[in-house]
């Protein structure tokens, strides 16, 4: 029983990080109908920047702030300079463009900081509160940070003007434009916010995977899987998908073998999709052009 509880706690902690990445992917999908493969590369890059801050003596919080700020900037820059060009064309082309960007970011990080994985500090200690219950202050911080961010985004979209404009720009751009919404600017903001959430995820998971150009590949795969499980159109689905995936991976790792976790992810994914082909929370009808 204790083992099950411990595995569930570990699953929830890891799952929150996947939820954050999934949330970033969902935000971008809702705004521009593109699967952003470069998300993993973007959060890797911002985590490297945070690591540089730590290396030069900065505190954990300063580094976190640096990561979030650089995420905002990076997301905006990528949308404005690159994605704007491929937004209208065949969807696969946009996918390949983000793939090219991912490769460029990995190569760039390798050139600047080298390829050796580096250790990254956790927010608080990783030693559990008690000997038997494997929950540590660091784990609680991860869960809390993602939850707060998700709630903040929810409030932004539902309760503020900017949020309304962003939703309008995503779902009915022509009409929104007629009503005076700067659609382009809203899309840029959407990408910037998504990159911010991704950067948070990167800093949160860095202590376990170490910081290196290729260390975040699994985060991308699991984040994408979580987004698909929850339904690409639903931010709530992203959170739910992340938690479901995190727990599934933890149980596979604990009861079967940690060598086949991704296969476990595939099994979880296929199970959900066979029952609901558009994800768990695929309520509304998708846009068809």
């Amino acid at each position: 029983m204790l083992r099950f509880v411990n595995l569930t706690l570990a699953g929830i902690t890891d799952g929150m990080v996947f939820s954050a990445v999934a949330l970033a992917l969902v935000l971008i999908w809702r705004a521009t109908r593109i699967v952003n493969f470069a998300q993993g590369g973007m959060l890797m890059f911002t985590t490297f920047l945070a690591w540089s801050v730590v290396r030069h003596g900065g505190s954990y919080w300063l580094a976190l702030a640096a990561a979030l700020a650089s995420g905002l900037v990076l997301g905006a820059v990528v949308e404005r300079l690159l994605i704007r060009r491929v937004e209208g064309g065949p969807p696969l082309n946009a996918v390949i463009t983000t793939l090219g960007l991912l490769i460029l970011l990995q190569a760039g990080a390798g050139m600047i900081w080298g390829g050796t994985p580096h250790s990254y500090p956790p927010a608080f200690t990783i030693q559990g509160f008690t000997r038997d219950l494997l929950l540590s202050p660091s784990d609680l911080f991860v869960i809390g940070a993602v939850a707060v961010t998700a709630v903040a985004l929810l409030l932004l979209f539902r309760r503020t003007d900017v949020g309304l404009k962003m939703r309008a720009a995503a779902f009915a751009p022509e009409v929104a434009r007629l009503l005076g919404v700067r659609v382009g600017r809203m899309l840029t903001l959407g990408w910037a916010l998504a990159a911010l959430v991704g950067s948070l995820a990167g800093v949160l998971i860095a202590p376990s995977v170490f910081v290196g150009p290729n260390q975040f590949d699994s985060v991308l795969v699991f984040g994408f899987t979580a987004a698909v499980i929850g339904g690409l159109d639903s931010p709530v689905g992203a959170i739910a998908g992340g938690l479901v995936l995190g727990c599934a991976l933890s149980y596979v790792s604990g009861y079967l073998s940690s060598d086949i976790v991704t296969l476990g992810a595939f099994a979880a994914l296929i199970t959900v999709l066979m029952v609901r082909p558009a994800g768990l929370f695929a309520g509304r009808a998708g846009r068809r052009v």
């Binding site: 390829g115 050796t116 994985p117 250790s119 990254y120 559990g128 494997l134 150009p213 290729n214």
Partner: protein
Amino acid sequence: MIKRMIAGLAALSLALAGCGSGDDSGGGKNKASAPGITATTVTIGSHQPLTGPAAPGYSEISPASKAYFDYVNAGGGINGRKIVYKYVDDVYNPTTTVDVVHRLVLQDKVFAIFNGLGTPTHTKVVDYLNAQRVPDLFVASGCGCWDQAAKHPYTFGWQIDYVREGKILGQYIKQNFAGKKIAYFYQNDDFGQDGVKGLDMYIPKEQVVKRESYQPTNTDVSPQVQAIAAAKADVVVLFSIPAFTALFRLASLKLGFKPQLAVSNVGSDPTTLSGLLENFAKKGGTKVQGNPLIQGIITDAYGAPAGDTSNSWIKLFRKVHDTYIPKLPFDGNVVYGMGAAYTFVQALKAAGKNPTRRGLVDAVEKGGFTGAGLVPFAYSKSSHAGYSGAQIGKISGNTIVLSGTPLTTDAGTGAIQPYTTPQPAAPANGIPPG
């Protein structure tokens, strides 16, 4: 449409043929009889984990070797030839190693492969290199697979092999931890399995309560550590690369599990481990030097530890390091890289004025090399194994402190003997004599 395809194919053929023949003629570089040898240069190649899970620590080895070669080149080289060292990243991925080595042999046409790193990686290219008759010197791995003179005549080991090391560690644990519970944590390939074979020759089976293995591609070792903690082991022997020694220590920290650790020399470099663990060590107000998470780890060494500043070899390597690679930390990996490079220079010198590939191999088989080691090499016509023993030590502060005497043994069931000949001093000019 047909015409377009013909035109396309023709253009492509010309382009590729142009590139291909360009490579084949080699631009007129290879004038001497052996590939990779010219009148003024000797080109050697290597595959190294410069990125990826094995990069922490190991990525310093090849720049260190290159630094020593630069030092020798600055003094005029060997027989008037400068050594050109081409080391390529294989990310510790056997598939990439195959690719990289094919390129080094077929396109770069290196004279020899030097210090190819990794057991799972190098085992994939050893057949190819021997079939192509390329000298495969001083493989950076302790697998017993390099010691097969009949099957792989061109391949030679350098460091102590894992069976020998397992025996020496196993004997120390048996003598000092009688009656305690022992657990193994090892890489699930020839590296770890050979180590376990050696350990089992000395540690009684009843004492071993758990054997857990890991794959270098899977950084989640908490299931294995939890299993070992549940078995309440007092001592855990690790045959792991530095990243996984660190991961084990982190996972055990999370569980509050504090066994005595004994780690193979390939995974125990204090500077590397500190770097990997620095953000997790408690920053207490103690005046103790070095990372508190790794103090007291038992390990072994076949050369002077990097922190032994009075040793003549360490002084020599420190000088080369400070001149050519000052930005890298001075640790066991740098000492390793330079030590291996020193042995290669010895072999090249012994191969004569106009070295051939076969000549280089014969020179190593003739044996008699002495270098930075505390124990002798085992090179002969029938044995291609490197260092034949090691000395037990413990991590204290930022370095390893050796205890007892150097011990030698064989890779089979032979006994472990003390080796009493003292380590020879480093040559004054840093270049092998003779």
